[in-house]
């Protein structure tokens, strides 16, 4: 069998996937680019060419810069917290204790819970008048009056991050745990003989094994956190005073609530560009880490 035939055959087998991807991703993306240079409305006629006006307006608006900061804060803090808590949980689950198998099984629960259900659940927990968090903290005498967790700009974003983190840290923990189980026993044993303390043992013996898988998790979680929509839509819709409005929510508002498809498209592409830059930078980092790790 010739290699040209092999390649042709492979392309033929790829073809259905590629056709569908072009139809549901490629074409819409190109169309979005086209729309972003027009003042098109969502419903009705095509709109007129306006050049880079949409981009200029969006980039110069205070809404955009503020939303960008909010989104970045949300992504950085929630992903960092998920990584730290996830690795700690994995180290714990790698110890021997009774009930370990059950606890490992439980870890899948938050991850399996649909995002919207998770958001709904936490919205109920944070309820300012009848929520479980206020009740628990008051009954434990940790706060003296019920508080408006999702109504104060100071706590709303944190409250969202906690809810997001609760759902996603178990995933990091499961990935880290699988990596930990791949660390050969004799290596840890050898480091014990060498007299390495627990911190050094983690830093120099265990972490290199975790670095690769964790980097992948980090990249994917960061991209997802940057695109966040569901949890914020259900819990705060961007309030109070827009303090939790992320880029995706802003695009929704522009394109669908205000029906300005053109400027919504330009904003969506700006977001896409940001995510791409982020991902490329990360990918380089992954390559570096993976190369040096094992």
């Amino acid at each position: 069998m010739s290699s040209t035939w092999m390649t042709t055959r492979a392309w033929l087998l790829m073809l259905p996937l590629l056709v569908v991807m072009v139809a549901v991703i490629g074409w819409p993306l190109v169309d979005t680019v086209g729309l972003s240079f027009t003042d098109a409305k969502l419903v009705g006629t095509g709109g007129n060419y306006v050049g880079f006006d949409n981009y200029a307006n969006m980039l110069s608006s205070s809404n955009f810069s503020r939303t960008l900061v909010t989104t970045t804060l949300f992504a950085v803090i929630s992903v960092a917290a998920e990584m730290v808590i996830g690795v700690l949980a994995a180290l714990l689950l790698n110890q021997q204790f009774h009930g370990r198998a059950v606890l490992r099984a439980l870890m899948i629960l938050p991850w399996a819970l649909p995002t919207v259900v998770n958001a709904t659940l936490w919205r109920l927990i944070y309820n300012p008048e009848y929520g479980a968090l206020n009740a628990a903290l008051t009954q434990l005498n940790l706060i003296d009056a019920y508080r408006s967790w999702l109504g104060e700009p100071g706590t709303a974003l944190t409250a969202l991050i906690v809810a997001d983190c609760w759902k996603n840290f178990p995933l990091v923990a499961l990935i880290a745990l699988a990596a930990l189980q791949a660390v050969p026993r004799d290596i840890t044993a050898a480091s014990l003989v060498d007299g390495a303390g627990p911190f050094n043992r983690f830093r120099f013996v265990i972490l290199p094994y975790l670095a690769g898988p964790l980097m992948v998790a980090l990249v994917l979680r960061t991209i997802e956190a940057f695109k966040v929509f569901d949890i914020i839509w259900v819990m705060t819709r961007g309030g109070p005073a827009n303090s939790t409005r992320t880029l995706s929510i802003l695009v929704y508002q522009e394109a669908f609530s205000f029906q300005r498809a053109g400027s919504g498209a330009s904003l969506a592409l700006i977001v896409t560009l940001l995510v791409t830059v982020l991902a490329v930078a990360y990918a380089a980092l992954v390559k570096k880490t993976a190369g040096s790790a094992v």
């Binding site: 390649t7 055959r9 492979a10 790829m14 259905p16 996937l17 590629l18 991807m21 549901v24 991703i25 819409p28 993306l29 169309d31 979005t32 729309l35 969502l42 714990l92 009930g99 606890l103 099984a105 439980l106 870890m107 899948i108 629960l109 399996a112 819970l113 649909p114 995002t115 259900v117 958001a119 709904t120 659940l121 919205r123 109920l124 309820n127 008048e129 009848y130 009740a135 009954q139 996603n168 995933l171 499961l174 699988a178 898988p213 992948v216 994917l220 929509f229 259900v234 880029l247 995706s248 695009v251 394109a255 669908f256 498809a261 498209a265 969506a268 977001v271 896409t272 791409t276 991902a279």
Partner: protein
């Protein structure tokens, strides 16, 4: 095996208990809310355990009497099942040949990389043209239309999983079968696909979970009982206009049940999928 001091053992158990509490408390509370009388949930101080369990909300939501709140909920349940099922089948139908092709012909691997790179695209970047396109085809508010859109998420991911699954099946086995005179499709059918069955199952599970979880496209592209999915139905309930928190919690429990059961029963397959093929949250 390292020896542990009893203080350290205590510490481990304390941490394990804390972790279990963190994981379980919110989920348990969701269930308790769903069976607590409304008055208990508005009590100050809050009543943590209902005086009498009240399962009537489950009955309300699962009743199929025409023109009732239950009918609306069960239709969204059915839509979610249909859409997740169709999208998963379609995704696998695309992913299996593509995954095999890339696995056996690394020269075309870059095309898969491009497909996977689309994962970075925020759905908002595709939403407006997809909306207009579906509208043009008359597929807005339609389960087929939404299932088609879900391929944007499911197909790249399942192809990736399938590709790494095929990678772990030695091509020598296929070569041996072909030397024995089997044609390509015969080889695939008799040798490769049965060996890849576990990966196919894992891919299907992930696809179902992803489709079940999707919210943004469903919010935009569906409007009523004909296509509205569970996630949108729950967001509508949670929108601050339903005063019975227990009812919202009940809907949450019902929507969480299928993925949580899949997660618990199939966790070995899921975790291996998460760690071998890569990761996806």
């Amino acid at each position: 095996m390292e020896r542990r001091s009893s203080a350290f053992t205590m510490f481990i158990y304390a941490c394990a208990l804390l972790l279990a509490a963190i994981i379980l408390a919110p989920i348990a509370w969701l269930f308790i809310m769903s069976i607590s009388p409304a008055a208990d949930l508005a009590a100050k101080p809050l009543r943590w355990w209902p005086q009498a369990a009240d399962f009537s909300r489950y009955q309300t939501l699962l009743s199929t009497a025409e023109n009732s709140a239950g009918a609306a909920f069960t239709s969204s349940l059915r839509n979610s099942l249909e859409i997740a099922g169709m999208a998963t089948l379609a995704a696998l139908a695309l992913a299996i040949p593509a995954g095999w092709a890339v696995s056996r012909t690394p020269a075309i691997g870059w095309s898969l990389s491009m497909v996977i790179a689309t994962y970075m695209l925020p759905p908002v970047a595709l939403a407006v043209p997809l909306y207009m396109g579906l509208s043009h085809l008359g597929l807005l508010n339609n389960v087929f239309g939404l299932a088609l859109v879900y391929l944007t998420i499911l197909a790249p991911f399942t192809t990736w999983l399938m590709k790494s699954g095929f990678d772990s099946i030695p091509r020598e086995i296929e070569a041996a079968a072909m030397i024995d005179g089997a044609g390509l499709f015969q080889t695939l059918r008799i040798i490769t696909l049965p060996l890849a069955a576990p990966v196919m199952a894992t891919s299907a599970l992930f696809a179902v979970l992803l489709a079940w979880d999707e919210f943004f496209y469903a919010l935009l592209f569906t409007s009523d009982q004909r296509a509205k999915t569970l996630t949108v139905a729950i967001a509508d309930l949670a929108g601050g206009r339903v005063s019975d928190y227990g009812l919202i919690a009940t809907a949450g429990v019902l929507a969480a049940l299928p993925p949580v059961l899949i997660g618990l029963v199939m966790q070995r397959a899921l975790i291996s999928g998460l760690t071998s093929g890569g990761v996806k949250g």
